[in-house]
């Protein structure tokens, strides 16, 4: 299977379309901004209420770091809001009434997926800035950022989520309403991947379950981003390098799988003649 190139001009055109569409609903703009800030603040209050200091034990041999729960939680929510918005952005951006006319222009699958998710992603990055400010100045989150590790972590995380998004869209083209990929990963995100609590905590209830968590790509995304933002870990640290490599391996595996799922879903919908049906 050939991995087609991404046509950035088309990605930009789709992103502008979504931005104009989004901005045309004035109330949506206000509610989205308020909702993000209020939602984030409520998580922050929750975390500061139980503000404890603990040591995060990553999957060995990645290094451990000591942080407060509020910093741990805030970083987890930020990761969810930025990186993981790609998945919901793609599926939410599928427009049945436009799908056929867009695909008729001869757009490649990767361009379509990135273009459909681009605005949602940019929006979450824009909303991330005030959230970060609230985290730092209001909840006293102490950040210890290693910029290179952070940028690499975001890049690798983006590729992982891109692969998952393509799989999700492929399945959504067939099932129309929902898809099991997003559902399973959504559940695993909040339950097993360490978004709001350390995965080791689950071992108190189900001994050894945290080993399952380390099989999930989202756990690695949370881990590498926390390492780079809370522990200031360098990529030259052998443990961090290994965590990044494992994450990269997930990315390398998930992108072709995602592309395969997308092409499969597109082909199946075309075979069924239901591409524009919803």
């Amino acid at each position: 299977m050939r991995l087609p190139g991404i046509e950035w001009g088309k990605v930009s055109a789709l992103m502008k379309r979504d931005m104009r569409n989004w901005a045309s609903y004035k109330m949506q703009v206000v509610i989205a901004i308020l909702g993000a800030l209020i939602g984030f603040a409520s998580w922050g209050f929750n975390a500061s209420f139980r503000n404890i200091t603990f040591t995060w034990q990553s999957f060995q041999p990645t290094p451990v770091y000591t942080t407060t729960y509020v910093a741990f939680l805030v970083s987890g929510i930020l990761v969810s809001n930025i990186v993981l918005s790609l998945t919901s952005g793609v599926t939410g951006g599928l427009r049945p009434w436009m799908l056929e006319s867009i695909l008729m222009t001869g757009m490649k699958p990767s361009t379509f997926v990135i273009g459909t998710a681009a605005w949602s992603y940019i929006l979450s990055v824009v909303l991330f800035i005030p959230q970060l400010m609230i985290g730092i100045f209001f909840f006293q989150v102490n950040l210890n950022v290693n910029l290179l590790t952070f940028m690499l972590s975001v890049l690798i995380s983006g590729i992982i989520v891109f692969g998952i998004s393509m799989a999700s869209v492929g399945i959504r083209l067939v099932t129309k309403v929902t898809d099991p990929v997003q559902w399973i990963l959504g559940i695993s995100l909040s339950l097993l991947s360490g978004q709001t609590f350390p995965v080791q905590y689950l071992n108190n209830y189900f001994p050894g379950i945290s080993n399952v968590s380390w099989l999930l790509p989202y756990t690695w995304i949370f881990d590498i981003i926390r390492l780079s933002t809370l522990a200031g870990a360098s990529i030259f640290d052998p443990g961090v390098g290994e965590a990044l490599l494992i994450s990269l391996l997930y990315a390398v595996i998930l992108v072709p799988i995602g592309l395969y799922c997308f092409v499969w879903g597109l082909r199946k919908a075309k075979k069924q003649g239901t591409l524009g049906w919803w």
């Binding site: 088309k10 056929e100 006319s101 222009t105 069924q272 591409l275 524009g276």
Partner: protein, 352 residues
């Protein structure tokens, strides 16, 4: 409007469809009163519908080709296969020498479609923004895109509303915008599914002229239209293909297709005089050799009888019967079957 120079005619046909077959599988869901939710969920059986059955034809460059057929005949399926939106079971579709099924991205640059069921526009953004979006998707450089968009908006009379949300557009305006979208591309083949459905007679007429005069004559494009408007097909198309239940029943110019029922002729006779009984006359005419149909039209006291018979029949007997009943022939006219008659007859025969 001439946004492109007409191209020289290449040797390959503009469209070539070979032995195209499409079968849709679907689940028949009967409403089964049942207390078991599971049984209700699983009720039904797998069914198949043959949408296209080994359809073959070709369309020449610069031609206006019509696909005719009743609802469910396979026209839209055929168009969607040409546009790479539906994958067939078997067969081949070639546009400008490019196989649509094996090289879809290249073929997309050669053929663009205006579908009837979806206008394919973003309603929340303006007409200009919609066109800018598609110009980028068609890889048009920015300067050229702006120039062409201005020309197209002007041509379609949309300049004044170019920056207005397309949500507020009438059906006619939306349709014009969706054609402008397609004309942004450099596709040499343009396909319309029910081009004038939902348009008022005036708008429909302008739209037909736009296709013939601007797309075909000025731009040298090949046009394929799917319609069940027979008058439209007769007026616009060089050739038509008649589809029914996925099978190709006839192909040729509208006259040629009409002549597929050309073993018939209509004789319209206006009668006068103190005739005995028009009903008796009709009864006798129907019994006459070679007469297939005899009907009367009473138009404001003028008796007109229309006799449909075999082309080679001897009409002397008809006049004999008219005279026998005490009528005089005031005027008479002969005519060949229309495309509509051919359509209805071919579809009726295919059902048997």
């Amino acid at each position: 409007m001439n946004t492109q120079q007409p191209k020289a005619k290449p040797s390959a046909p503009a469209i070539e469809v070979v032995e195209l077959t499409k079968v849709y599988s679907w689940r028949e869901r009967k409403v089964v009163p049942s207390k078991s939710f599971l049984r209700m969920l699983l009720a039904g059986k797998e069914c198949e519908t043959v949408a296209l059955d080994k359809v073959s034809f070709s369309v020449d460059h610069g031609e206006v080709f019509g696909l005719l057929g009743p609802n469910g005949s396979g026209k839209t399926t055929l168009i969607k296969i040409l546009s790479n939106l539906v994958i067939p079971e078997s067969g081949k579709v070639v546009v400008d020498g490019i196989d649509v099924l094996t090289s879809p991205y290249v073929a997309a640059a050669r053929l663009q479609t205006v579908l009837s069921e979806s206008i394919g526009l973003e309603k929340r953004i303006s007409a200009r923004e919609n066109l800018l979006l598609f110009a980028a998707l068609y890889n048009l450089p920015k300067n050229e895109a702006n120039e062409r968009i201005d020309k197209l908006l002007d041509f379609f009379g949309l300049t004044d509303v170019a920056d207005k949300s397309s949500q507020s557009f009438s059906t006619g305006m939306s349709r014009k915008l969706s054609v402008a979208r397609v004309l942004l591309s450099s596709a040499s083949v343009v396909v319309f599914d029910e081009p004038t459905s939902g348009l008022d007679p005036g708008a429909a007429d302008s739209f037909r002229r736009l296709i013939l005069e601007d797309l075909v004559k000025a731009e040298g494009k090949t046009v394929l239209i799917a319609t069940h408007n027979l008058a439209e097909a007769s007026f616009m198309c060089n050739r038509i293909a008649l589809l029914n239940r996925g099978r190709l029943l006839a192909i040729g110019s509208p006259d040629e297709v009409s002549r597929t029922v050309g073993d018939r002729m209509h004789l319209s006779v206006t009668l006068d005089g103190p005739g005995k009984s028009l009903d008796r006359l009709l009864e006798n005419l129907r019994k006459a050799e070679g007469v297939l149909l005899a009907e009367s039209k009473d138009d404001k006291g003028v008796n007109e009888v229309v006799v449909t018979g075999r082309k080679d029949m001897d009409y002397t007997s008809v006049f004999g019967l008219i005279s026998e009943q005490g009528f005089r022939v005031v005027s008479l006219e002969t005519s060949s079957p229309t495309l509509e008659e051919a359509f209805l007859r071919l579809v009726r025969e295919a059902k048997r």
